[in-house]
């Protein structure tokens, strides 16, 4: 199992990194906060650390750490459009319930 990007997500990540002018890839993680216990983290990566676990998906390097991976195993990061709003979405099979907004979740 692993963390993957949808083709559209990978295309957008590559574009953003190119426009930003630097970055090794993106980091997906979870942190304990928010209304349902845990929240997603989605950041650019400039410096890799020894604890990083990496995956390759459609040419993009995905960084995570062991603790986050336990919650993110099997997640696919997608890029979608809802009306005028567009952005990234975590399709996480481990999630039992999430708050109404989906920014915070529980496993």
């Amino acid at each position: 199992m692993a963390i993957t990007l949808s083709e559209s997500a990978a295309k957008h990540v590559s574009n953003f990194i190119a426009k930003r002018g630097k970055g090794l890839g993106i980091r997906l993680g979870v942190k304990t906060s928010g209304c349902s216990g845990m929240a997603y983290k989605l950041e650019f990566v400039d410096v890799a650390t020894d604890d990083d676990i990496t995956f390759q998906s459609h040419g993009v390097t995905v960084f995570t750490d062991a603790k986050s991976l336990a919650y993110l195993e099997g997640t696919e990061l997608d890029y979608t459009k809802e009306g005028l709003n567009e952005g990234f979405k975590f399709n996480n099979p481990n999630v039992k319930d999430e708050c109404g907004c989906g920014e915070s979740f529980n496993v």
């Binding site: 009306g83 952005g87 990234f88 999430e98 907004c101």
Partner: protein, 619 residues
């Protein structure tokens, strides 16, 4: 499910804590809203994918407010109730507006700013602008999926305080929190990342639909300063359309066209102009209402020929701006092109030739101002690290405080980048002084009377102490909008008083530059005046201290000694009256010598009193 954006490393926001901020280019003809998404600035389009929002507001029969393309479409049918170019009237009185007769509006003179009479009642330009901003705000909130923390709104560099204040009022009316107003040329320079680059002088050439602005910016230590601005408020891309239109009339030998045909040919002319950006020639075809067919070919060379005078017309203000900034074309490090009309290759070529370098054109000239504002908004909203803080504005004149003797003590020197906070400690001048007046001044001169008074307040409730014992901390703080707040706090008791002022209010650029030149011209006089005032303050302090001592321990002196002291005091008074620094200092010296013996005796008496009745072992 909320949609996420990629954050900078370590800056992921907690859920529901995203700091959504936008940059808004509130233009005369068109407005745009942009934001930084996943670290790149992007303009937010409407549901039809259109980035521009025509700055047109129509008040309909049904009491609706229509903004943008839909309003623009009705402009000729309902001119009284369709407001275009409201920006031209922002912060302006009726007297300020030229060609009132030529514009279709019914103006009402109101205190402070004109109003436009529509079927929805009298509308001030602020309200009209607020309607445009409200449309952009809801577009942004729909696009970003949340409420905005704030917005950076751009204004022309030449906007004065009233016009800037009106823009802020419009934003507030639209429910937007203004993080900062940003000069349009500065925003364009930021979009090109010039603020991260080398120091130097840059020119921003902004040819919009109906206005031309040129600004000279100096970048030093990451701060842009507008050195000069110039322009032509009735020259723009539309004039190029008009040249083609006239050429068509000439070629086809047309006279007295009706409104519909005129409109049609102007549209064809604009299409031809845009086509010639990419192609060497273009075909202009139109079927007029009388059945006549127009079919002409316009070449790039011909178009350049007929519009050459327009380009030359833009170079006049460019020359003036450079002259005002006291630099030559060869001193310019980079030229930024802004405005849709600068897409025309022959404009780029002419500007390139004038400056001897290729102008910057790789960003969309219609969007560049909004993109720069978005980048600035992103930083101000706190979505970037501390070290990437952009400092963009400086205070034009020093801010100071009045000290004893009518002198100005500078607390924040001019050209300090804002936001800024500086504090200084002051003390009481007289024994038992329980209040202190804080007089806030602006200017470079040494004397209070030569500076501009901004505000005054009194700190009361200082506990009675001997002169010089109280510690009063006065803090000057200027926020990102140039709003000054001053706080005075007595450190031991904690009593506090404060005031808010807008330092640049009502000062025109001319006044600011006059105040600066004055300060340079008078630097010698000022120093002399300052020395005299300081000497007088010292002298008066000594007189007061001596008088207090005489009242307390006058019995220590013989009548003879007493009269000597009185003479020295009188001598100092008359020295002060001569208003010469040397005399005052000499008389101060004499009085100070005359009191030495007296001071020694007082000291002895105080020690004796302190020791009286105490056992030596307790000391």
């Amino acid at each position: 499910m909320a949609l996420l954006q990629i954050a900078e490393p370590g800056l992921s926001a907690a859920p529901h804590q995203h700091r959504l901020a936008v940059g808004i280019d509130l233009g005369t003809t068109n407005s745009l809203v942009a934001t930084v998404k996943s670290s790149s600035a992007t303009v937010l389009p409407d549901e039809h994918g259109r980035s521009l929002l025509p700055s047109v507001v129509r008040y309909t029969e049904q009491g609706e407010v229509v903004v943008g393309y839909a309003a623009q479409a009705e402009q000729s049918r309902d001119p009284n109730n369709t407001i275009v170019s409201a920006k031209r009237f922002m912060g302006r009185g009726l007297a300020d507006i030229q060609d009132v007769g030529r514009s279709p509006y019914r103006f009402v003179d109101a205190p402070g700013m004109v109003q436009l009479l529509t079927r929805a009642g009298a509308k001030s330009p602020v309200e009209v602008s607020a309607d445009i901003l409200r449309t952009l705000r809801s577009r942004a909130e729909d696009s970003l999926g949340g409420e905005l923390v704030g917005a950076v709104i751009t204004v022309p560099a030449y906007f004065d305080d009233a016009q800037r204040q009106a823009t802020k009022d419009a934003a507030r009316l639209a429910g937007l929190n203004v993080l900062r107003l940003l000069n349009e040329p500065t925003a364009a320079a930021i979009a090109y990342g010039l603020d991260n680059g080398a120091e130097g002088t840059y020119v921003v050439y902004d040819l919009g639909g109906g206005t031309f602005d040129v600004s000279v910016l100096a970048l030093s230590r990451g701060v842009f300063e507008v050195l000069s601005t110039s322009g032509d408020s009735s020259l723009g891309g539309d004039d190029f359309d008009h040249r083609i239109y006239c050429w068509v009339l000439e070629q086809a030998d047309l006279h007295g066209l009706n409104a519909h045909d005129t409109r049609l040919l102007l549209t064809r002319a604009r299409e031809a102009k845009e086509a010639l950006t990419e192609h060497a020639e273009t075909r202009i075809t139109a079927l007029l209402s009388d059945g006549l067919t127009i079919d002409l070919v316009l070449t790039q060379a011909m178009f350049h020929d007929i519009s050459k005078t327009l380009i030359d017309k833009t170079l006049l203000p460019v020359r003036k701006a450079l002259r005002d900034a006291k630099i030559g074309a060869e001193d310019v490090k980079g030229v930024v092109m802004v405005g849709g009309a600068t897409r025309m290759p022959h404009i780029q070529k002419a500007v390139g030739q004038y400056f001897g370098q290729t102008p910057l054109t790789n960003l969309d000239p219609d969007k560049v101002v909004a993109l720069g504002a978005a980048i600035q908004a992103n930083v101000l909203a706190g979505n970037k690290g501390e070290d990437e803080w952009l400092l963009l504005d400086v205070i034009p004149l020093s801010l100071g405080i009045e000290t004893m003797g009518g002198l100005t003590e500078k607390i924040i020197p001019r050209n300090s980048t804002i936001p800024v906070a500086r504090a200084q400690e002051f003390t009481t001048f007289k024994d038992g002084q329980t209040a202190m007046s804080v007089h806030i001044l602006q200017g470079e001169r040494e004397l209070v009377s030569d500076c501009r008074s901004l505000a005054k307040f009194v700190l009361r409730g200082i506990p009675p102490m001997v002169a010089g014992a109280a510690r009063i901390r006065v803090t000057y703080q200027v926020d990102a909008d140039g709003l000054l707040s001053v706080t005075a706090r007595e450190q031991t008791s904690g009593v506090e008083a404060s005031i808010e002022v807008k330092p640049s209010y009502g000062l025109s650029d001319d006044e600011i530059s006059r105040m600066l030149t004055d300060s340079l011209a008078h630097v010698q006089d000022d120093i002399a005046a300052r020395k005299l005032r300081e000497a007088i303050v010292d002298a008066e302090g000594l007189i007061a201290a001596t008088a207090a001592a005489l009242a307390a321990d006058g019995d220590l002196l013989s009548a003879d000694e007493r009269s000597q002291l009185d003479d020295a005091i009188a001598g100092l008074h008359s020295a002060i009256a001569t208003q010469t620094t040397r005399e005052v200092n000499a008389a101060t010296q004499r009085l100070s010598q005359a009191t030495e013996e007296f001071a020694a005796r007082r000291m002895d008496r105080n020690i004796q009193q302190a020791l009286k009745g105490k056992h030596i072992g307790n000391l």
